[in-house]
Each structure stands twice: as structure tokens, then as C-alpha cells.
Symmetry: C2
Subunit: 205 residues, 2 copies
């Protein structure tokens, strides 16, 4: 009944402050030109403590991504078991994105928009982004393997589908931002997954 104690609340608070402040600074002077010391100073903690909250500067910048990945996995686990594999991932991903687009909580929405902006402006981060997704790939592959009822250590397909799915989402959202900013990202992601499901050869060789 007592919920999280004062200690936990404070921790979450500085964690949030770190992400928000970091993003403010990133937007002002760019990712590379923002130092960890500056971020720490702006939140009134020592630089040493910064690295107790985030293992690296990259880590703060990609914090929204981590959250998004977690949400997608949760959404996927909640999809009915009868749903075909690709359909399930498609729906889970689109659900999460749609929640950002139409969500009431503007802090969450803005945080992810900011991340997209930052990624587009910082190639190195965009690269790190795909890498980061990969490191949580085993987790996703595990979920998929359970759905298929196979052992992910013996059957490579879950890994393949997992990595391709993450890749598709990232690429699509990236492209959306550049090419189709008027269409909701969730719709584009749906299209991309349908393309994957029916075969890349399908639309126009």
C-alpha cells in the first residue's frame, strides 16, 4: 500500500530530469557539443552520479527508445496467441506508435518526437539506435519463439523476424519523418509490415 518510498521517487525524478535536461541541451547546441558535465551541472548532480543513472551519454539520448522497445514487447505479449506472427508484431508496434500520436500525456509524445528529431540530426546516434535495438533482440526473439513454439537457440527464424521487424520500424519511422510527415507513422508501419508479410516482391519487383 505504501507505494515506492521517497528514495525511489527521488531517483525517478532525477532520472526524468536528466533525460529532459539532456534533450533541451541537445536541441540547443547539438548532441556532440553537449558534454556530460553540462548535463550534470544543469541538474545539480555531480558528473560521477550521472554515470550511475546512465551508462553513457548515448544512453540518455536513447532512453526513449528503450522505453518504446519495452512497450512494444509488452504489447506483443498481450496480443492474442491466435494472431499470425507478423500480424502480431505489426499490431503491437502500430499500437504503441498510435498511443504516442494520439496520447493525452504530452510529455511522452514530445519526448519521442524529440528523439526522432535528434536521430535525424545526429547520424552517429541513428547508427547507435539500430545497434541498441539489436542488443534487446534476444528478448524479442524469445517472445516470438514462444509464440511459434520453437527453441530460439535451434531455430534461427525468430531472430530473423525479430531483427527485421525492429529494422523495419526504425526505417519506416525515419522515412516517415522525412518523406511523409503528414501520414501517421503508425499507418506507415502497418503498410511496411504488410509488405513484409505478403513478400517484398509483391508491389513492384
Amino acid at each position: 500500500m505504501t507505494g515506492p518510498g521517497l528514495r525511489e521517487r527521488k531517483k525517478q525524478q532525477t532520472r526524468d530530469a536528466l533525460v529532459d535536461t539532456a534533450y533541451e541541451l541537445f536541441r540547443e547546441r547539438g548532441y556532440d557539443s553537449t558534454t556530460v558535465d553540462e548535463i550534470a551541472a544543469a541538474v545539480n548532480i555531480s558528473p560521477r552520479t550521472f554515470f550511475r543513472y546512465f551508462t553513457s551519454k548515448e544512453d540518455v539520448a536513447l532512453a526513449p527508445l528503450d522505453q518504446q522497445l519495452t512497450e512494444v514487447m509488452t504489447a506483443l505479449a498481450a496480443r492474442p496467441a491466435a494472431e499470425p506472427l507478423v500480424t502480431a508484431i505489426r499490431n503491437a508496434s502500430a499500437e504503441v506508435l498510435r498511443a504516442y500520436e494520439t496520447g493525452e500525456e504530452p510529455s511522452k509524445r514530445n519526448r519521442h518526437r524529440s528523439m526522432e528529431d535528434l536521430l535525424a540530426a545526429t547520424p552517429a546516434l541513428m547508427a547507435a539506435c539500430l545497434g541498441r535495438s539489436t542488443s534487446r533482440l534476444d528478448e524479442l526473439a524469445g517472445l516470438l519463439a514462444r509464440r511459434l513454439g520453437v527453441d530460439p537457440r535451434l531455430d534461427p527464424r525468430p531472430h530473423l523476424v525479430a531483427s527485421i521487424s525492429l529494422c523495419a520500424v526504425r526505417t519506416t519511422v525515419g522515412a516517415w519523418r522525412e518523406i511523409h510527415p503528414e501520414t501517421p507513422a503508425s499507418d506507415l508501419v502497418r503498410q511496411a509490415f504488410d509488405l513484409l508479410a505478403t513478400g517484398l516482391n509483391h508491389p513492384a519487383n
Copy 2:
């Protein structure tokens, strides 16, 4: 007629020596525990000069990947224009891999095997690997767009297919190493692409 001068030859020579020596050290004590200074010392150049050959430590480690990507693009450009898009990438990728497997030049083959080993032993590098592929993604997307006769800045499909293809190759080769070391990687890559072409839903939901 004079070929490359002494200067160019020497440069290529130290470049090769750097990659080879770096990989030796990586194998001996691991990627993280190997410093740039050690690599430079082992090749008798100053650390400063190291960074004139490679922009980062990661860069040496992924040098074989860069070469591989270049080869795939070359192979792709050489595929007949009549070939369907996914088929063309599939064949180009499989060709390149096959050349490594059956190739006479053992240095090339071993270099890529070593890279796979290093990637498997160093998660951070594996992550960087996907990121690196992404940075050459525009190049590949350009090739695909030309094949389709579309403008890559307006049509997101080339980017999607490009990133998914690279992702598929990497994941497949990674899985091959762990799960199916007896099957040639080129065959597995073929299968993966066929799966993509006919649709991920096809084999088992």
C-alpha cells in the same frame, strides 16, 4: 603504366598491417582490453598516425565489413536489370559470401571469419556493426531506387528494402555461426531472402 607509386604501396601496406595486427591482439586479449596505443606500437607507428588511417578503434575492427559491403554493392550493380529487386540483392549477397567460402585467397576468407568471431565475442561491436551498415544505407538505397526507376527521396521503399536486406544478411550470418555452422552461409542467406520475397507469413504463421 607505372601503377601506384611507392607512397601508395606503403600506405596500403601499413593499412593492412594495422587490420591484421589489430585482429591478432583482439583475439589474444579481446577487443575492449586492446588499446589503440598497443596496436600502433605493434605496427611501429605513432598512435596519432593510427587515427589517420582509421577514424576510430571500431573502424579497424569493422574494416572487413566495409569491404564486404562494397563488394555486395558492386555485385548488385552487375546483376542484370531484368532481375526482380529482392532476387538481385539475394544473388549479389550470396555471390559475395560464396566467394569467401570457396575463394582461393585465404587471407580474405580468414579475415572475414575472424570478424565473425570477434563480433560474436563482442556485443558492443555487433551493435556497431548494424549501425555501420546503416550509414552506407543511402548508397544501397540509391542503387535499388535506380533499379526501380524511382527517386529515393520521394519513395521510401528503396530504403526499407535496403535496410531490411542488410539486416537480414547480418542476422543470418550471425545465426549461421551459432546454429548451422555446417551449412554454407551463402545458402542460408538465400533462404532468408526467399522468405522475405515470398512473405514472412508463408512458412509457419
